[in-house]
């Protein structure tokens, strides 16, 4: 829109997504300043972080969770904001439900008080997470003060092997570029391996750009993108659709584009990848051993030592075969239909190992419904998984789904930080949903490719 006196840019926000955790204080600040929501039709709300996944009857059994939900309900009502709440068929994890409603479109600027807003860049949108003060600013002015980002293009050649998914690719990228390699950058993912990914795979990639320090992930819009959006509830219709597609096509970066930095890698050589440590950058392929901290670059040594101690893993020990306690399939990274479908292919005909708690949390009501229609829920239930109601669940454990004590999880979520999954000393191994399924069946970290041999 314009340059601000401080040198930053005032950026118009085309789609503002809000949820119960980072919005209540923003509405309070708005009320204190006697300000209105400028464009109520450009803000869309849902509830995800705090919802219980076993029983969603109101009032919730946790009074704090109930208070957060009712505060959001009231704020939406007062300010005339569309709310996809509990009981609606469109509620879900914000980064799952907005794309599936067709709200996220190429060329939009998307902001949300949640770091995984980078997900929406998979559509060729500029999408990033913001804090609560900025949520207030967007509500009041539909705009933000932003500094220009540099762009690093990450070009991925080849084709992902069987048993290797978008999750493995992004864990591999973060491993090699580091958890702060992307600070100051937007990551543009491109190349044959990216183009072959479905929209859901692309969302997984962009979702975790932030785990590499990059506030935005981005993928050029193409036919895959248009096909995904077409016919969705908020997608352009009729003549608007044709005009929209021609505009969207004009947005893609072309062969003459110049990037601040470029990186190339070979997607064909990537193996199923698992994190062993306490940052998403501490990943290794399933066939590798836990690194010896003393042999790592000097700036990675201390955190690797901390990680070995916290995770109770020894250098040079294989990750394959490591016992797990809890298996979680879900989250804004991997709670979409294709994630559940791929995992169910592994599960079919098998049973969850004794003593393992395994559960599936669909990313949204729509995902849950489509999965039920395809009989995916039955496959999981028959194998001994629990099948839950949609929400963020054990990705961040702001709800009853938590690790206990020193439990270790195989998790399809995005963060393995200390204490992330609800127990101050609980441990997390990040991996693809199919790998989580394999871990649940064997009770230990398993190469999913063992299940894919004909």
């Amino acid at each position: 829109m314009r340059e601000l006196p401080g040198g930053s840019t005032q950026l118009f926000i085309g789609l503002h997504l809000i949820h119960e955790v980072t919005s209540p204080q923003a509405f309070s600040a708005l009320n204190e300043k006697n300000l209105e929501v400028k464009f109520p039709n450009l803000t869309v709300a849902t509830v995800d972080h705090i919802v219980p996944t076993s029983n969603q009857q109101r009032p919730f059994s946790d009074p704090l969770a109930e208070e957060m939900l009712s505060t959001l309900e009231n704020n939406c009502k007062t300010h005339r904001i569309k709310f996809h709440g509990i009981g609606s068929n469109s509620q879900g994890v914000v980064h799952v439900m907005a794309p599936e409603l067709g709200l996220t479109q190429p060329g939009m600027t998307v902001a949300c008080g949640d770091s995984h807003t980078s997900t929406h860049g998979a559509f060729g949108a500029i999408a990033f997470g913001i804090g609560t003060s900025q949520v207030r600013d967007v509500l009041a002015s539909q705009s933000l003060a932003m500094n220009k980002l540099k762009v690093r293009r990450i070009w991925v050649d080849g084709t992902l092997q069987k048993g290797v998914y978008a999750k493995d690719l992004i864990l591999h990228i973060i491993r090699h570029l580091g958890v702060k390699g992307g600070v100051g950058f937007a990551y543009e993912f491109a190349g044959p391996a990216i183009e072959k990914l479905s929209m859901e795979g692309r969302m997984t990639i962009c979702n975790m750009a932030i785990e590499g320090g990059a506030r935005c992930g981005y993928i050029n819009p193409d036919e895959t993108t248009f096909k995904y959006i077409k016919g969705k509830e908020y997608a352009p219709q009729g003549k608007d659709w044709d005009r929209a597609v021609s505009w969207w096509k004009s947005l893609a970066s072309d062969s003459k584009a110049i990037f601040d930095d470029e990186i190339k890698l070979d997607g064909s050589s990537i193996e199923p990848t698992v994190t062993w440590g306490i940052t998403p950058g501490q990943g290794i392929s399933i066939k590798e051993t836990i690194p010896n901290p003393d042999l790592l670059p000097i700036n990675e040594q201390q955190i690797a030592k901390d990680a070995c101690k916290y995770m109770n893993l020894k250098p040079d020990e294989p990750i394959e075969g490591k016992s797990v306690d809890v298996c979680f399939i879900g989250s804004c990274t991997n709670g979409r239909l294709s994630d559940l479908q791929e995992a169910s292919k592994i599960v079919k005909g098998h049973t969850v190992a004794t003593g393992i708690r395994a559960f599936v949390v669909p990313g949204s009501q729509k995902v849950a419904k489509e999965a039920r229609e395809k009989g995916i829920d039955k496959i999981f239930l028959k194998a001994g998984f629990e099948w839950r109601e949609p929400g963020c669940s054990m990705c961040l454990a702001m709800n009853p789904d938590k690790l206990e004590g020193r439990q270790i999880s195989a998790s399809s979520s995005n963060r393995n930080f200390k204490g992330r999954q609800g127990s101050a000393n609980g441990r997390t191994l990040l991996m693809s949903p199919a790998m989580v399924a394999a871990a649940a069946i064997n009770g230990k970290v398993t190469d999913v490719r063992n299940f894919l041999q004909d």
Partner: protein
Amino acid sequence: MTQEFPKGAIKSIQGRSFVIRGDDIDTDRIIPARFLKCVSFSALGDQVFADDRNELKGNHPFDLVHNKGANILIVNDNFGCGSSREHAPQALMRWGIRLIIGESFAEIFFGNCLALGIPCLTSSKEVIAKLQNLVEKNITHTWHFDLKNLSFSNQKETVKLDLDEGPYNMLFTGKWDATSQLLDADEKIYITAKNLPYLNNFESII
């Protein structure tokens, strides 16, 4: 906390400092998710670094008696990575922190701090290591931060710090609270909305 929250131009800060060591300290550690179950930030000050403090049973820097009343934090690399929760800088601010100096900061955390009027300044690994040692050896010293000269000093030593021009200007002029500044462009906001293809049924495309 008796200390007032930041307001207006922030040209200097003084007070005692202490150190939180470690790279990649994420916002889940600064404020664990269970404390995000609130509709107001007011109680967060006591909960800052809750799990780390619990583990160290009174020996965490935020619990040490001599750090009580200190307002400057010296950290390492990629501080504040992970979740966008403003609850993290809110918790630090409500405990009493008014300035953070480190090797580098995660972007969203940096912006969230700025929106509260808490400057995050950087310097090289070597300078931060030296500063951390100095601060730990001289726990009673009062340190002075001067925005204009980007300097941080006690009676004997001075270190130079870095801050980009944008945040510098915002702090210097007191315009770090962006809402009113953004609303100044009211007319432009409406014009932009009118001209955006996805807000006018794609009629404005050429």
